[in-house]
Subunit: 337 residues, 2 copies
DNA sequence: CCGGCTCGTGTTATCGCTAACACTTGCGGC
DNA sequence: GCCGCAAGTGTTAGCGATAACACGAGCCGG
């Protein structure tokens, strides 16, 4: 209610203390609940705070405590569905724990761009850093990661030099591949992601080894760049290939492009061609036909990432790797019709 | 190269000064380029900085200068394509200008959630705030916006109480509608977004007034929630309606759902039904059929938003509203076949 | 009735930095 | 030959908060 009308500068602890007729320490104690304060005094102080519209200066607090209350996130391609959802999960968990989240995105992956991003965040005095950049260069960059601020990665490879939270890409690819094999296909083709992406490699390995385990022939791999456009290109070049009737595409966007290529070529899905994607973006259920895909719970990944980071910030050194289990969502693209 | 091996705590200005044999002020001058320093001294200081792996403490600097070098962004549904891209554009522009970006997202729109988010950012001592929440409650919440930190909004309504950068939704809707009318349809139906979203309202108004201007009948509006699911539901309930052969759907996801409903109902697009979406998400070109849609340049919006905010932070009070022009992308969903 | 406790409060130092000013030099102008 | 000014450097005083300790009042136990 009683707002200061002039809004001159921003009240400080001292201003509040003067108005309440106490020392600034008492005000500090009221605000932080540290130390005992007489009820009556507390009321006076709170009134003064209200009247001056006082807001603690987090910068000053950070300086003296050494804790900025801020987390840093380095994100590659933060406007994609997966990274954006993960970021959202992290931010949400961080906020609940009282942390602010500073983000710095990098447009092109690379050793130095990631190192620079981490450096920028350190200058901002973040208390912990999350790197969402499942890229081989990231893995290398993180080898040189600073030791004085806890750092965890999302979706790093098997042997990343830092703790990693990730959906089990290998297992997801296995499920997708076995699903297709289980439908009676002799083998399963694969449209992979870029070979400098760790997730692409893991999915490809999961696909390949599953085929091997089942004694199936391993067709050549086509590689895209995650975009629908590249999936479409892959479809154009692949459709008509002998023995091609089941494809595991490394993400949903590329699968959409692939579907489009099939449609244009007059190849019926799932009649003549069965397709499985990866991610389960919200639109996948409305593709034509609805896409069977492997669901990744990105928000959960974000949540767990923050949990791990917090444990590290508190000095914990527990487990270094946390796998989130993916789920196969079966829809018409591998249906019966 | 010469990193300190022990990594004890983090060197301060004083440590560097001691090592270089100068006062801490001289070190400060070297770092910031303020005031004259003898070349030889500068070399010694830089060597000391290198040797100690010194990094300026931005918190201390922020405390004394009153400038945190940080921007705050409040985002609603930050994992959607549009907001995420806008955020990306803002963050990029901010970074180039030397600002860090702190993000705080809100899951449900509402007066208090937005006010809270802004409050959190103010506590973080941000120098400027961007609100990406084109929601009616946001408009109301911003009326009570604090006056001591510059604030701009993305995608606010016509009469938002703060400066706004937005794509011209009205004009985009006009283009979409006129495109369909130009193809000879008697009228154009509309699947709208939620009525508490400003962009949904603007698009609907653009559609409605365009029909009026052309003397076309105004069909009832169906309302979705931006999701493909809701677009599908709209399609299910609408398909078969008398005189329905042209639809302007308020975003691409819903358009996808609508397409799906048409496909299931055996309605050929564009043969029996023409559809236009809005946004031009990267996948729209690969829908079946490829979707005619209105492109919004979200990254450009983000860039301009930062520019405006910076001018405000520098005390500027120039224009309060900036419209980015959308573009109609014609594809097969309104094609000839 | 005194020592030692807790409660409630104040005083002082400190975090790492920049702002403001003071102080030496050395040099040019008159 | 003295004044003034610029270059180069140092000293001091905060910024707004918390930490650490100090201190008086009241209470309890022995």
């Amino acid at each position: 209610m009683a707002r200061e009308t002039t809004e001159s500068k921003q009240a400080s602890l001292t201003d509040v203390a003067a108005l309440a007729g106490v020392s600034h320490m008492t005000v500090s104690r009221v605000i932080n609940g540290t130390g005992p304060v007489r009820a009556e005094t507390r009321v006076r102080v709170n009134a003064a705070i209200e009247q001056l519209d006082y807001r603690p200066n987090s910068v000053a607090r950070a300086l003296v405590t050494g804790r900025s209350g801020t987390l840093g996130v380095v994100a590659l391609e933060a406007n994609l569905y997966g990274p954006a959802s993960t970021l959202s999960g992290i931010e949400h968990a961080a906020r609940e724990a009282g942390y602010a989240t500073t983000i710095t995105s990098i447009s092109r992956p690379g050793r130095s761009s990631i190192t620079d991003a981490v450096e920028r965040l350190r200058r901002q005095a973040v208390e912990g850093i999350v790197v969402i950049a499942p890229h081989v260069t990231a893995a290398r960059a993180l080898e040189a990661a600073p030791s004085d601020v806890p750092l965890v990665a999302v979706g790093g490879g098997d042997k990343a030099p830092v703790p990693v939270i990730t959906v089990d890409q290998y297992d997801g690819a296995r499920r997708a591949t076995e699903h297709l094999l289980g439908l009676g296909h002799e083998t399963v083709w694969h449209v992979a992601g870029p070979e400098d992406w760790l997730e692409a490699l893991d999915r490809e390995r999961g696909w390949r080894e599953t085929l091997q385990r089942h004694g199936a022939r391993i067709p050549p791999v086509i590689r895209g760049d995650w975009s629908a456009r590249s999936g479409y290109a892959a479809g154009r070049s692949l459709v008509g290939e002998r023995g091609l009737d089941a494809v595991f595409v490394a993400n949903d966007q590329m699968a959409l492009g692939f579907l489009r290529a099939c449609t244009e070529a007059g190849v019926n899905v799932p009649g003549e061609m069965r397709i499985v994607g990866f991610d389960d973006v919200p639109e996948a259920a409305y593709y034509t036909p609805p896409l069977t895909t492997v669901r990744q719970d990105f928000v959960e990944v974000g949540r767990r990432t923050f949990d791990l980071l917090r444990r590290r910030m508190n000095g914990g050194e527990d487990r270094d790797r946390d796998l989130v289990v993916p789920e196969l969502i079966v829809r018409e693209s591998t249906g019966l019709s």
